[in-house]
């Protein structure tokens, strides 16, 4: 059942883009849209949007880079270790939980390292990969999406995003303990 589900989703993922292109452009032709010129008209915005994001992304990534390089993460891990013990989360996976909202490449590195040290099928390995799949890189998403429309006052977006991350991590610990718990 799980294998079938996986194969199905994989097939959809691979076929989605060609199918989407075919249906969208085909529908356009059926509806007598001048597909080529309309496509080019829309595509023009691509450059502006990408360039508009640059300052926001530079600001965000530099701050995250400085934070990561300073060793502050290790410090934070030490401070928070008692809390994680309380909820039955192995302290080794705490850097993963903290890094996930900040940096995609950083959390990927931590996940790979944890699997190398503890093995991918150990509780820590499974929990780390579940955590990776349980959330997005919040600060990157905020910088890119808000950057594209020049939003500087993000209001409650950061707390909402971080609450989502927190619950994603707690959810990952909870479900992994039930299914693969020690």
């Amino acid at each position: 059942m799980a294998d079938f589900f996986r194969a199905l989703i994989n097939a959809i993922s691979i076929l989605a883009i060609p199918l989407l292109l075919f249906v969208f452009l085909g529908w356009g032709i059926v509806k007598k849209v001048k597909v080529y010129s309309v496509f080019v008209e829309g595509a023009k915005e691509g450059f502006d949007t990408a360039v508009r994001i640059i300052p926001y992304l530079v600001a965000m990534l530099c701050a995250i880079g400085i934070f990561r390089a300073s060793g502050a993460m290790e410090l934070l891990t030490t401070v928070l270790a008692p809390v994680t013990n309380l909820i039955g989360m192995p302290p080794e996976t705490l850097p993963m939980a903290l890094m996930r909202p900040l940096s995609g490449s950083g959390s990927l590195g931590i996940m790979t390292e944890l699997m190398k040290v503890h093995g991918p099928d150990s509780f820590i390995g499974i929990l780390a990969s579940t955590m990776y799949g349980s959330s997005e890189t919040t600060f990157y998403v905020l910088a890119v999406y808000f950057g594209s429309v020049q939003v500087k006052n993000t209001r409650h977006a950061v707390p909402a995003g971080l609450i989502a991350d927190l619950f994603g991590m707690l959810g990952a610990v909870f479900i992994c303990r039930i299914f693969f718990g020690i």
Binding site: F24, K31, I66, P159, A164
Partner: protein
């Protein structure tokens, strides 16, 4: 909020880096000025065309751990070494770093004069009679301000990375924005939207149900769930642009934008392909075992994000931005 988090990341980063550097100086973590002692298994001795010894520096794990006061090394260290005779009685040592090098030395090389090796001065070298082995004592180059250097480098590197990422978006952005425009003109987006109106009406009450923003948001969330991040980002940015057209106060996020991003940062994905690939590469017996748990985790994140966005938008401090706008609109008539 982003304001404070941003400055906190930078300020904490810099303070911790300087603090770490001061602590390293006081503890002499990198053992500046203290000679390392080890044995060399000599491969090549000096001859007519060379003035250097090449071989393997061998340090026992215990000696290395005791020297650096760590527990990092769990096997004896075999590190390539080159000893060069500069003038009679004066020799320099160079440790080219490779996969077999201890992590501590790799880390030190990041703050060294040359990134791929550590250098130093030999204080004594005694070669055995058969020219096969030597006892050596050497002092490595002093390593200072490790974290401060790393912070500087990170700031510069990430600035470049940011531009690379943004420029890399241009092509796929253009492709998907073009396709979306065709779909829009053909009326396809309206059809997509109509199906999910009961849900979107509740999630985004401020947005007219047939607005193009709704279609773009649906497409973005669907693409994210299928793991098509290349398609998801352009559609998400298109959605933001459409949402911004309904924004009475450009530059400030609307409730709908925050709810949309909360769903996005939840990262609900049906097949976490990256994590599965890493698990497979690490030799897992069952890489796909995390699909179910990941969906559960991301589901928690998404629901929590939506609930948080909906509750937080009622707080006076987040509401006042919009009440001011509304008041101004009234006074403008």
């Amino acid at each position: 909020m982003l304001n404070y988090i941003w400055i906190a990341l930078i300020a904490i980063g810099i303070l911790v880096a300087v603090g770490n550097d001061v602590a390293d100086e006081m503890r002499n973590t990198y053992r500046n000025g203290i000679p390392v002692e080890g044995t060399i298994a000599i491969d090549k001795s000096p001859g007519p065309l060379r003035n250097s010894w090449e071989g393997d520096l061998i340090l026992t794990a215990d000696a290395f751990n005791a020297f650096y006061n760590t527990t990092a090394a769990n096997a004896d260290i075999h590190q390539p070494i080159v000893v060069t005779e500069l003038s009679p009685g004066e020799k320099s040592v160079s440790l080219p770093l490779g996969p077999s090098s201890p992590d501590r030395w790799k880390e030190m090389a990041k703050a060294a004069a040359s990134r791929d090796k550590l250098t130093g001065k030999v204080s004594s070298m005694v070669i055995s009679d058969d020219q096969q082995r030597a006892r050596i004592q050497f002092v490595l180059e002093p390593i200072h301000y490790m974290k401060s250097k790393a912070v500087t480098q990170a700031a510069l590197d990430y600035a470049t990375t940011a531009v690379t990422i943004a420029l890399g978006l241009i092509g796929i952005m253009a492709l998907w924005l073009g396709v979306m425009k065709v779909a829009d003109e053909a009326g396809l987006l309206k059809i997509v939207t109509r199906f999910l109106t009961p849900i979107t009406k509740r999630l985004f009450p401020e947005i007219p149900p047939d607005h193009p923003a709704v279609a773009a948001m649906i497409m973005n969330i669907a693409a994210n769930m299928l793991g098509l991040s290349n398609a998801a980002t352009p559609m998400g940015l298109k959605a933001m642009e459409e949402l911004n057209k309904l924004n009475p106060k450009v530059g400030t996020a609307t409730n709908a934008m925050v709810t949309f991003l909360a769903i996005n940062t939840g990262g609900l994905i049906l097949i976490p392909a990256t994590a599965i690939a890493v698990r497979a590469a690490a030799g897992s017996a069952n890489p796909g075992i995390i699909i179910g748990t990941s969906i559960f985790g991301a589901g928690c994140a998404t629901v929590a994000g939506i609930v948080a966005a909906k509750l937080l938008q009622r707080l006076p401090r987040y509401r006042k931005d919009y009440e001011q706008v509304a008041a101004k609109e009234v006074s403008n008539g």
